[in-house]
């Protein structure tokens, strides 16, 4: 009981720390790919420190304040419901659909706050974000559905447990491919970073946020990175379980492997990001509803065929 509570407290702190670290590393990687030197890998920590300790914060109204708070609430809640490597905090109660809906709280709260700011750039950003969400949800949902149909369960813990023999990535490669494409948009990386496109809409929804608000958003973002990647790992990469023995040591190893997988997925997205231009939002929409959806449908048909007959 005490151990669980300790984990419960430790996990968010650890995850946000690692998230910020990864973001620093990715800036470095992007810079190297683009033949720049780039900021030091600990730049993100400096930024967050600075933002939180800023003397003057500017707010508009109480709805505006909701944004960052909801962003953190949504991400923290979701994180507690997904299995993270060896650690299953509340995931026995969790359910894939519940998790997918909990994930939305953060975005919706963010959109509320951005809308309340009254800046048209924020409105455009929110519109793009929601449109993009509708775009990538189509292939993503179909590919996740393939997994749920194949294992005939919607419980995340069950799905992870059933992959102990073989990862879903190997059984359902097409679905995994599509889910990774959707992950690119979930991370908000190019070519799907229309919502925050800095050069067009002055980083979109967060245009009005500064100081502690922006700091909270950065923390939420770093947790979100783990949540989104972790969801993919749980569904397709066997939950990052390398060792199936009980015992705290193995559990820690499993957790480290999970973090490694998150880093790998994130780096993959960053590498794509570094060399890609940005789609227009309607191009992105058409893209997602065309090829990834077709591939996802084929994957779903395959999963259905294998599991029913």
């Amino acid at each position: 009981m005490i151990a669980e509570i300790l984990v419960l407290i430790f996990m968010p702190v650890f995850v946000s720390f690692m998230g910020l670290l990864f973001m620093g590393i990715q800036r470095k990687i992007t810079a190297r790919v683009q033949n720049r030197i780039g900021p030091p890998f600990y730049q993100q920590f400096i930024d967050v420190m600075k933002l939180f300790s800023k003397r003057e914060n500017i707010g508009h109204n109480w709805v505006f304040d909701i944004g960052p708070i909801f962003a953190i609430v949504g991400m923290l809640t979701t994180m507690l419901f997904i299995p993270m490597g060896g650690f299953r905090l509340l995931s026995m109660d969790g359910d894939l659909i519940v998790v997918m809906y909990l994930l939305v709280i953060s975005g919706l709260g963010m959109a509320l706050g951005a809308g309340a700011s009254g800046n048209p750039n924020a409105g455009i950003g929110v519109m793009r974000g929601l449109t993009l969400m509708m775009a990538y949800e189509m292939p993503f949902v179909i590919s996740v559905l393939a997994v749920m149909v194949y294992y005939h369960t919607t419980s995340l813990a069950e799905i992870v447990g059933m992959q102990s023999g073989m990862w879903a990535l190997i059984i359902l490669p097409l679905s995994a491919l599509v889910a990774d494409m959707a992950l690119q948009a979930q991370f908000g990386k190019k070519p799907f970073d229309q919502p925050i496109a800095p050069a067009e809409v002055a980083t979109g929804p967060i245009v009005e946020y500064g100081g502690k608000y922006l700091g909270m958003l950065m923390v939420a973002h770093s947790i979100g990175m783990f949540v989104e990647a972790g969801l993919f790992i749980d569904i397709f990469l066997g939950g990052g379980l390398l060792f199936h023995q009980p015992g705290i040591i193995w559990q820690v190893f499993n957790f480290l492997f999970w973090v490694l997988l998150v880093f790998a997925l994130y780096t993959l997205a960053v590498l794509v990001n570094a060399i890609m231009p940005r789609y227009r939002i309607d191009q992105a929409f058409v893209f997602y509803w065309k090829w990834p959806t077709i591939i996802a449908i084929i994957g779903l048909a395959y999963a259905l065929g294998v599991s029913v007959w």
């Binding site: 309340a116 749920m148 909270m216 929409f285």
Partner: protein, 632 residues
């Protein structure tokens, strides 16, 4: 304590109270408007209270008029299913009457408005309480007529939509009548209790035809896929204080009809005889598929609307598609999800239409792009609508999540790979259009002319707050409504759902949904976030127009440019426009004009010359005689 009310807890009492109340209200309006409004509120709220008290006790009433030549018995009964729907209907209707009293208009039309509202409430209760098809049909028609008249009260603009509604409803009613006649000629009884014992043994073909005939009539009310064309104009043009009932309560009669006939009368085993698809009947599968298709199409239309009532109208169609999907699937989870979603939809859509009415009253416009920034001016309206929108979008913590979750689980459980993705996408679309309301009406910049906006009178806000409270309550304790639904399911002969107050357990293959855990975790996370927020330096409030504009001075074009809600989803609309140009309406139009063309041709034989008519008569006579000789 309320023992003295016991003799009144009978369906015929409630219905006749409302019908008498309708008359009294109408004539009281001739005397004084305050008296009329008081009457309307007292009658509706009292009957709603009676319905609430009557619980699910089995009250069966037979009533046969002395001079009934065919010997039909009119049966009224209260059972678990009808009580569930009656509760929903009476709650929505009564509170909407309270709500409309808050606007305090005093026109001659208001007499008719309140009278018809009570009449409609009585007719709807009659539909759900009736225990035989004849009274079902009679109340059904009273209901259609009353709602048609109520819609036309909005004035000239509503007439076309109301006429559409009436025509399609009449077609649906004829369809019901045909199905009813077929059943009567086959079995010789119209009582549900008698039919329930014989319909199960009927041959599948007969069942299919009768169920389809009845189904067309119900599908019209439920605005299911090919029959939804009446709904957007009728919902959006109806009077603002009637639309909550129209969309919240009246549309639920379609799902009620399906549930009653598919499960209450025909029953699962007989349905299965018609052929099954992965464990559920083909008929149910088609209904479910139509429901999910409706959900997606209506969602796409809703995203593109700038008119708040039209947006909500399309949203209603889409949500009813969900309900039909759940009822069509027909498993324990599916029916529970469908009924639960019907309840949730009744509550949140009523709240949203009420809020829309307030917004239209305040701003004088139905266009979302004419509103903006009202969130801080009208906090109660904003909060209630926010909760309703959360429920609509299915965010956990509100009732809407539980029902959507059940529906997805039902689809995935049966591996319906066509239905499940459609339902998911419609749900994502729901985020889009519901956020459009928030963004355009409550967030962003406040136009100059709305500076004086404020929350409406308590008569209006109390019903909205009540509904919002219900949604939150259902979000924390889904066991309360689901417990009632479980008893409905066992009444219908479907395996009942396993629920406790806070959690739902569906079986080994599914994760349980424990609303209490989710709630606790969210609260904890909220505490953490709030702590983070308040530990840091306090922020300074600046004006709403004081935003980052890349060096522009914003004063001159505040209204026009700073509020980004005109053509909100333009890119998306551009993509879908070629596919969604009102195809179905055009199909109906083509049918109508073709019919007109044929009639025009037939009309040509009336030349206006009397002698030609004599010729027609004689030629016809000669042909008949010759044919007679030939055949005999």
């Amino acid at each position: 304590m309320l023992e003295f009310l016991n003799p009144m807890l009978r369906p015929e009492w409630m219905i006749s109270l409302l019908f008498i109340g309708a008359l009294l209200t109408y004539f009281a309006g001739k005397v004084s408007s305050a008296l009329r409004t008081t009457f309307a509120i007292i009658f509706s709220v009292f009957v709603a209270f009676l319905v609430f008290l009557s619980g699910s006790r089995d009250v069966l009433t037979y009533w046969r008029p002395s001079a009934s030549p065919m010997g039909f018995r009119f049966v009224l009964s209260i059972n678990a299913l009808s009580w569930f729907f009656a509760l929903m209907i009476s709650m929505v209707s009564a509170l909407t009457i309270v709500y409309s009293a808050g606007f305090g208009k005093n026109t001659e039309k208001d007499n008719a408005f309140y009278g018809l509202n009570l009449l409609l409430m009585g007719a709807m209760l009659g539909v759900v309480f009736s225990g035989d098809m004849l009274s079902f049909f009679i109340f059904w028609e009273i209901m259609t007529l009353a709602s048609y008249l109520l819609t036309t009260l909005a004035g000239k603009r509503a007439e076309k939509g109301a006429l559409n509604y009436m025509i399609i409803s009449t077609a649906g009613a004829y369809s019901i009548l045909i199905g009813m006649t077929m059943i009567y000629t086959r079995f010789g009884t119209l009582e549900f209790s008698g039919l329930a014992s014989v319909m199960g043994g009927a041959d599948p073909m007969f069942l299919l035809i009768t169920l389809s005939m009845l189904g067309i009539g119900f599908a019209v009310k439920a605005a299911l896929a090919p029959f939804y064309v009446w709904a957007p104009p009728a919902y959006s043009e109806a009077p603002d204080s009637f639309t909550p009932v129209f969309s919240g309560a009246l549309s639920k009669l379609g799902p009620y009809g399906f549930t009653l006939f598919m499960y209450g009368i025909v029953g699962l085993p007989a349905l299965a005889k018609m052929g099954t698809f992965r464990g559920i009947s083909d008929f149910g599968y088609i209904i479910a598929l139509l429901g999910s298709i409706t959900a997606v199409i209506a969602t796409l239309y809703a995203i593109a609307q700038d008119d708040i009532k039209k947006l909500l109208a399309y949203s209603s169609i889409s949500q009813l598609g969900y309900v039909m999907m759940g009822i069509g699937i027909g498993t324990s989870i599916g029916v529970a999800g469908g009924l639960y979603h019907a309840l949730n939809h009744a509550i949140f859509k009523t709240t949203l239409f009420m809020g829309a009415g307030v917004l239209i009253y305040t701003t004088g416009s139905r266009k979302l792009s004419d509103m903006g920034g009202l969130g801080t001016k009208m906090p109660i309206t904003f909060l209630t609508m926010l909760i309703a929108i959360f429920a609509l979008a299915g965010i956990p913590m509100t009732g809407g999540f539980g029902s959507k979750w059940l529906l997805y689980e039902a689809a995935i459980d049966k591996k319906f790979v066509l239905i499940a993705p459609l339902a998911f996408i419609a749900s994502v679309g729901a985020f889009l259009y519901s956020f459009r309301i928030l963004q355009s009406a409550f967030l962003g910049q406040l136009p100059e002319r709305l500076k004086g906006a404020k929350d409406p009178s308590p008569l209006i806000t109390i019903p909205m707050l009540f509904f919002a409270g219900l949604l939150v309550l259902f979000g924390i304790a889904p066991g309360i409504p689901l417990g009632i639904i479980a008893s409905v399911e066992s009444y219908l002969g479907i395996p009942a759902l396993n629920v406790s107050t806070y959690s739902v357990y569906l079986g080994a293959n599914f994760g349980a949904y424990n609303a209490f855990t989710v709630m606790t975790v969210i609260t904890l996370a909220l505490l953490v976030a709030l702590a983070l927020f308040f530990i840091a330096k306090k922020s300074r409030k600046v004006g709403q127009t004081d935003t980052y504009m890349a060096g522009e001075v914003p004063e001159h074009h505040v209204d026009l440019y700073l509020h980004y809600s005109m053509n909100f989803y333009r890119p998306l609309e551009r993509i879908f426009a070629p596919y969604l140009r009102n195809r179905l309406e055009r199909l109906y139009d083509a049918f109508g004009s073709g019919y007109e063309l044929i009639s025009e041709g037939i009309r040509r034989i009336y030349t206006g010359d009397v002698q030609h008519y004599v010729y027609y008569v004689m030629v016809f006579l000669a042909v008949m005689i010759l044919a007679g000789w030939w055949w005999l």
